[in-house]
Assembly symmetry: C2
Homo-oligomer: 350 residues x 2
């Protein structure tokens, strides 16, 4: 590996179908020929056969052996106590030490979040990290954050989420001036909860280099009204899971509609190509990859149940973020925010 | 009209397509021959022609003339100031005076909520009314509340929502022992916000005649995991609108998939019957009808953009609730709750 090449640090043992799905996902990326190397953390006895069978893959991979792995159902506190030197821990440690640029895991979300905070620590000036999700829309995709790193967020934290979300939208969607919406409810005179109203006041001046749009509602997320949607982790997590559940329900209705009669079934056969594309658009694997923002290092979370294609999608995302100026953008915007709101900096807690 | 017949008090001027959609919706119900009468509030000059043209309709309708109507974009405070004796106001007043059993409007939601609180007042012991929505699922439909009557809810209010939601599920879905879920986020050690955790503690004992299931997540709503899902109005409103937006997005994807090629289009023609049914299932008109719970009288809100079919759906819902023991159930459960939690009663504010 050369110093110039991006290095992705992969938790090869994380995920319901690991290491199979992870290794085949890495192989898909390797076959695309991008200038990227992989540092694979996990059980060498299980990982080596994949490299032996594929010389092209072996050329861009290095195995960092560990026989410890974090189980998918461990509680975060258990994972922290017993997870040192696990494949997840080591994947993060490689980013901290500068050996790798981005860490990727399809493992236990709560454990990954807790371990990321402990190993990487937060960027100075960020109160809390946020988990950002890509959300499909007719305009492509939007960024929604926080979708569950925290349960609550005060106004300053929402502004920080806006700053991080804007930088992330630039990094992965190439938006030059991403628009920011604050998630709220509609009624004119019930303008939502206190923290959201205060955040709106702080964002209104479009200071800190942000392109603030205003309040958006739940239906605006899927419409792609803004490039970034900012909310607290409780609401964001519920919105994300509600959307996943609704897409699944509607998908089931579509299936029923197309199998309800012989004519319908025949119709479905003829429309096969279009329906296959539909299935891909609805597959969570294709919008795979939440990212933890606000840490000293980039950590991407792939879906626990991901297959090889889904993991490869997350790796492509890692490649985009790793090659972007994301960190510099966040730091520049944060320092502008803190200069104008010194009380936000003072309020930093553990 | 006889005393035994259910009387529905209809705001004939509320809604984007009123009075046309309202009157044609009423006519649909009238044609079904249920024992129900309609008290229509609105401009007699506009309403009378519908009755003149349809003797069957005229037989079950009475017009209560007013030339005042609340505009769809009035702020709640404007509506309260200038809305006395409007069609919306009079529809509520008829329930208050006992002339009618249920009030129905497709008008301005914020105005209807504010006016309902003022005219009907809250049931003794209820801190805040809630807006409940019916949500489609593979198991039929669930009740979600609050979807936007308030922005925040403390633990006692969430328990009250559970009580009202259970009674409503019994009333309209005929569930004998509806299960109750508290909307939360998943992680084991981040069990959501304080109010939700406290409400869970209060509900755990299954006192107050409730069948408490536990925490549910966003995706559980569309799965129909529980008959009733309880949350605060801010989160519930965002979840509802997110689901609507997602269903619309997916619907658009389906349409694209079925028009992407000549074969697909031909397939769609063959699958026409199934797809028509799908369209109906996704039409908000078919799950039309939020209901305000916790007031001295039942108020149903139909979608502002509703057509005649959608308005008829809301009227059928009004018929079910009006004929149920909903109010007695709520009052019995509430008094059990207050007996066991006297501090909840003391905390009642305006």
């Amino acid at each position: 590996m050369t110093a110039e090449t991006l290095v992705l640090s992969v938790d090869a043992m994380g995920g319901d179908h690991a290491p199979e799905s992870v290794m085949r996902g890495v192989a898909l990326l390797a076959a695309e020929g991008r200038p990227v190397n992989f540092l694979l953390h996990g059980d060498e006895a299980q990982l080596r056969p994949y490299l032996d069978a594929d010389p092209k893959l072996a050329r861009v991979c290095e195995i960092a052996h560990t026989d410890k792995a974090v189980s998918m159902d461990a509680k975060p506190s258990q994972a922290l106590r017993g997870g040192k030197n696990s494949s997840m821990w080591n994947a993060l440690q490689a980013v901290k030490s500068g050996t790798a640029h981005v860490a990727i895991s399809a493992g236990n979300t709560g454990a990954l979040m807790a371990m990321s905070k402990l190993v990487l620590r937060m960027v100075p000036g960020v109160h809390r990290p946020a988990l950002a999700a890509s959300w499909p829309s007719p305009r492509g995709a939007s960024i929604v954050l926080d979708v569950g790193a925290n349960v609550e967020a005060d106004a300053e934290q929402l502004v920080e989420f806006a700053i991080m979300g804007a930088a992330y939208s630039k990094a992965i969607h190439g938006k030059t001036d991403p628009s920011i919406g604050l998630l709220n409810i509609g009624s004119e005179e019930l303008k939502g909860i206190e923290s959201v109203r205060q955040a709106a006041e702080m964002l209104k001046g479009n200071e800190f280099g942000l392109n603030y749009y205003g309040f958006v509602e739940g239906n605006d997320i899927s419409m792609g009204t803004t490039d970034v949607v900012v909310t607290d982790g409780y609401t964001g997590n519920i919105a994300l899971k509600t959307a996943e559940g609704t897409a699944k329900l509607v998908g089931g209705f579509v299936k029923e509609a197309l199998t309800s009669s012989i004519l319908s079934k025949l119709g479905a056969v003829l429309a096969r190509a279009g329906l296959k594309q539909l299935k891909q658009r609805l597959d969570p694997g294709n919008v795979n990859g939440g990212v933890f923002l606000g840490l000293n290092g980039i950590v991407l979370k792939s879906h626990g149940g991901t297959d090889a294609e889904g993991f490869a999608t997350t790796l492509r995302l890692a490649y985009s973020v790793g090659n972007s100026t994301f960190h510099q953008d966040v730091e520049a915007s944060l320092s502008r925010f803190q200069a104008s709101h010194p009380e936000a900096e003072e309020a930093v807690s553990t």
